[in-house]
Subunit: 135 residues, 2 copies
DNA sequence: AAAATTGTATTAGAGTATCAGTACAATATT
DNA sequence: AATATTGTACTGATACTCTAATACAATTTT
């Protein structure tokens, strides 16, 4: 599991871990039920305190991205989180609004924004293909 | 200018102001060259320190959303910011990635995510229409 | 059963962000 | 020119975030 941490990036280390793991899961580089590195191992690898990794794992569990079994390990959860439809839509709308406001401000049309979205989606899917090929 | 501030929302007051003004501009409720409320007036309206509003206005100016003339006032800027194409694309891609990762995790397909995006865009445009009708 | 490995809990400290108080500078208005 | 109105700069107090240190609990392995 390759994580790239920038201690002085402004964004907290634990948040960087959360974001990158989410991205890895979305990209399929981490498959359901696959075990994440133990907190101490990952902590040693990226040179931070184990608690920092533990916090990231806790947040990921809250988000439904992973599940943990104390003494055993932390594993990638399967399927989407079982949230109510209304809540799923609300969460996605927040991101959509952010994208639209940013796009408008940057002078992109809706069509252009959607084109960018398609391209980024293709990039994500490409990562997924590569990761399957590797393993 | 109607702003809804939640002092204990977790997100800083100045950030709430920034976000809502950006949204208002994107929705056309604030037109180019329109004057924002003076820092003291808005501060009194939402019951915060003028400095907090001033900070928000400063951030908005850095973002190219408004321009300020000391002694005169703060006004909505026109057009998109004159950023390099590469930078514009990068900024939008950040939002797009966030949307896609979230969508994947929530179990939305790309098509569904794009549909949500269209709906939210329609909602934004609707706000715009209403604000024009009002004024 | 013992030891090793894993996640968890609690506490504390350093740093930073947030906001308020006050005084200042530039522009507009009278 | 004088006054009022606007944004700005500086300082400081408080609260909170982030990280680390240490000890604990549950599970797996030997």
């Amino acid at each position: 599991m390759q994580l790239h941490i920038s201690p002085k990036d402004g964004t907290p280390i634990y948040a960087q871990i959360v974001g990158q793991v989410k991205h890895l899961v979305a990209a399929g580089r981490l498959r359901p039920h696959e075990e994440l590195l133990p907190v101490r191992t990952l902590a040693a690898q990226i040179l931070v305190n184990p608690n920092t990794v533990a916090r990231a794992y806790r947040e990921l569990e809250s988000a439904g991205v992973v599940y943990t079994r104390q003494g055993a390990g932390t594993y990638v959860a399967e399927g989407g989180s079982p949230l109510a439809e209304r809540e799923r839509l609300r969460l996605l709308s927040v991101r959509a609004d952010a994208l639209l406001v940013e796009a408008d401000h940057l002078g992109f049309t809706l069509e252009e924004a959607m084109e960018v979205l398609r391209e980024r989606d293709a990039a994500l899917r490409n990562e997924r293909e590569n990761s399957h090929a590797e393993s």
